[in-house]
């Protein structure tokens, strides 16, 4: 069933991609094939392989239970929030929060996760910024 759903999504993706490629504006500099042909070939391959998924699906993968799916969703949201927070709050503060949260969700006790997160943030800061001189996001406090 998963493969069939995947196949339908794949065909929709291929159709969308093909439709978008027909909208590419031609330029006055033109080679015989132009910018549309290659994307159209790709769209055909996408559509054909998706069709195979629908006709000959593989055995069902082990999807995680709703709880775990929620877990992954939360972590994705956390990483997005982290990306947004980086330029605002600076590297060390945002990384400490994000790393603590992740290690808590991966099974560390909260009392262990917080020092671990701080240690990860400080460790990366020392190694990559102070020693290797990489520029990390600077927050209001300069780190």
């Amino acid at each position: 069933m998963s493969d069939r759903v995947f196949g339908v999504i794949g065909i929709l993706l291929a159709a969308f991609y093909a439709w978008q490629s027909t909208l590419i504006q031609e330029s006055f500099i033109q080679d015989p094939v132009g910018p549309k042909a290659f994307p159209l070939i790709i769209a055909i391959v996408l559509a054909l392989s998706s069709l195979v998924f629908i006709l000959k699906p593989d055995p069902e993968p082990d999807w995680p239970a709703v709880g775990q799916l929620f877990e992954i969703g939360i972590s994705v949201a956390l990483l997005v929030a982290y990306a947004l927070a980086l330029p605002e709050a600076g590297f060390v503060a945002s990384t400490a929060v994000a790393a603590s949260f992740l290690s808590w969700r991966l099974g560390a006790a909260p009392l262990h996760a917080i020092p671990a997160g701080i240690a990860i943030a400080a460790g990366i800061y020392v190694v990559f910024h102070l020693i290797l001189g990489l520029s990390l996001a600077r927050g209001p406090w300069g780190f």
């Binding site: 998924f53 982290y82 990559f128």
Partner: protein, 507 residues
């Protein structure tokens, strides 16, 4: 022998303090990356590329660092295979079959040392193979025109799927997805934007480093979140290491296994798309057939450790041949190394040997040096690496995720790229769930631009005549191989996979 003269020049380049230091650092990091379950050569190198890039290393030192990591990871993978019965990376899977039983008999140290020596033998001779084979391949590659290159890229995608995946349609889908991602952005030939939806950030396309780090490193974090939550801490400390010097007797008994496996592994590595996993699998299967007279394989036979380890390290060296000579990588990790070269504005392929001989030969010399370092490092210091296995994933994985962000943010400083990377992480996780291989996606993102450019160049030359793609005998040969490579696994794959699974379960 101008090859040897070039190699000597390479040693002159590689033997500077800076490069030696980078090789040492790379070998050390690589062994750790390989040893940690869940971090393999491809995602390890993927995380480090942006770092090497933002540190502003020139091409040769950057390549030396990353290929040392690559070779190191091939060595490191065996450590957790032997001690924990968990392969540190995919190619080390076969090493668990005899390595773990041997460790349970209290001969863990011997198994580690023997596998270290087997790794050295495999990698050492494969590097010699690279020295002699790559320039020959370059000579062939000079005959390639745009049509032949287009056929060659198709061949790479066709054969890559056959071995990397269980389902050819999924491999084809993955390749098309990657190629599609590569077309996003302003078209290089006519200057019109494609698939950018008016978003300025998309005009220069999606940076392949963002895609690679997202697909490989972040998706690994999600896989861990799902499966390894609250996992028990690693148990390596309970294992006694024992003596770490193998007896001459064992070395003598395993010489045959090592030499056979090196040859098999190297050939598997050179074939496009096959890579180290196939190298170690073929080496083990062959060795089992040749020398398992008393049914000792699978119960801790030293030859069962020497064979896959020599095989996977030889394949690692072999995979560099098509990557350097043709610009078409032979495995996932070499695809990532190709990304590194492209990021440094170096186009691999025949011209690389003419225009940047310092890069090529410096790199090859560094491989020899790194290999010796790895042997020296891996035998006496093995207990140090064993200790690294004790870091539980609940602290390791957050660090991996954060370092991925550091690398990408360091290159672009853009929040948008970080979002795209998280997106790729999610896509990578879903694709892995559905058994869609990720390597063709990466290869598509990397090679898409070149592939399209060659197609359109061929069409420009022939003035739009599509039969020009099949005009030369060389092109026809490449197309034939591509079709065989794509169709054969569908016909014979079932048989091969059944055997593979039998080996997996058969311990």
């Amino acid at each position: 022998m101008d090859v040897l003269a070039s190699l000597a020049d390479g040693f002159a380049i590689a033997l500077t303090w800076e490069n030696l230091g980078l090789a040492l650092l790379g070998c050390f990091l690589g062994t750790i990356i390989g040893a940690l379950p869940g971090l393999g050569p491809s995602n390890g190198v993927a995380i480090l590329i942006p770092l090497a890039f933002t540190l502003g290393l020139p091409p040769t030192p950057a390549l030396i660092l990353l290929t040392s990591v690559y070779y190191g990871a091939m060595y490191g993978g065996r450590i957790s295979s032997i001690l924990l019965n968990i392969p540190g990376d995919e190619p080390a899977l076969m090493t668990t079959l005899d390595g773990y039983p041997m460790a349970r008999q209290g001969r863990a140290g011997e198994a580690l040392a023997l596998s270290g020596i087997a790794s050295f033998v495999g990698a050492f001779f494969a590097t010699w193979g690279l020295v002699f084979l790559a320039p020959q391949l370059v000579r062939v590659a000079l005959l390639f025109g745009p049509a032949e290159y287009f056929a060659l890229f198709t061949l790479a995608f066709a054969t890559l799927g056959g071995i990397a995946s269980r389902n050819q349609a999924k491999a084809a889908f993955a390749a098309a997805l990657g190629l599609g991602i590569a077309t996003i952005g302003v078209d290089g030939q006519t200057g019109v934007p494609r698939f950018s939806f008016g978003e300025v950030h998309l005009y220069d396309g999606i940076d392949f480093l963002v895609a690679i780090v997202g697909l490989f490193a972040l998706s690994e974090v999600f896989v861990f979140l799902e499966s390894h939550r609250g996992d028990a801490d690693a148990a390596a400390d309970k294992m006694k290491i024992g003596r770490v010097i193998p007896s001459l007797n064992i070395l003598r008994r395993t010489t045959g296994a090592m030499s056979r496996s090196t040859v098999i592994g190297f050939i598997c590595g050179v074939l496009p798309g096959a890579g180290a996993s196939l190298g170690s699998f073929m080496a083990y299967s062959l060795e089992k057939r040749v020398s398992d007279k008393n049914k000792t394989f699978g119960t801790g036979d030293p030859r069962g450790i020497a064979a896959p380890e020599a095989g996977n390290n030889a394949a690692a060296g072999g995979a560099l041949v098509p990557m350097l000579a043709l610009g078409v990588p032979g495995s996932g990790t070499t695809a990532v190394l190709l990304a590194m070269l492209l990021a440094l504005n170096i186009t691999p392929g025949p011209l690389l040997f003419q225009q940047n001989p310092d890069v090529v030969w410096g790199l090859i010399a560094a491989l020899f040096i790194g290999n010796v370092m790895l042997l020296l490092m891996n035998i006496p210091l093995v207990s140090l690496f064993v200790r690294v296995l004790l870091i539980p994933p609940k602290y390791l994985m957050p660090a991996v995720a954060m370092i991925s962000f550091v690398g990408i943010y360091g290159i672009s400083g853009s929040t948008f790229d970080l979002m795209v990377m998280v997106g790729f992480g999610v896509i990578g996780w879903v694709l892995r769930k559905l058994d869609v291989p990720l390597v063709p996606v990466i290869l598509g993102v990397l090679l898409g631009d070149q592939m399209e450019k060659n197609l359109r160049r061929a069409m420009t030359i022939s003035d739009g005549d599509w039969t020009a793609l099949f005009a030369s005998p060389l092109a026809i040969g490449l197309w034939a191989f591509a079709i065989i490579g794509f169709v054969a696994p569908i016909l014979f794959g079932r048989f091969f996979r059944m055997k593979h699974r039998e080996e997996d379960v058969g311990d």
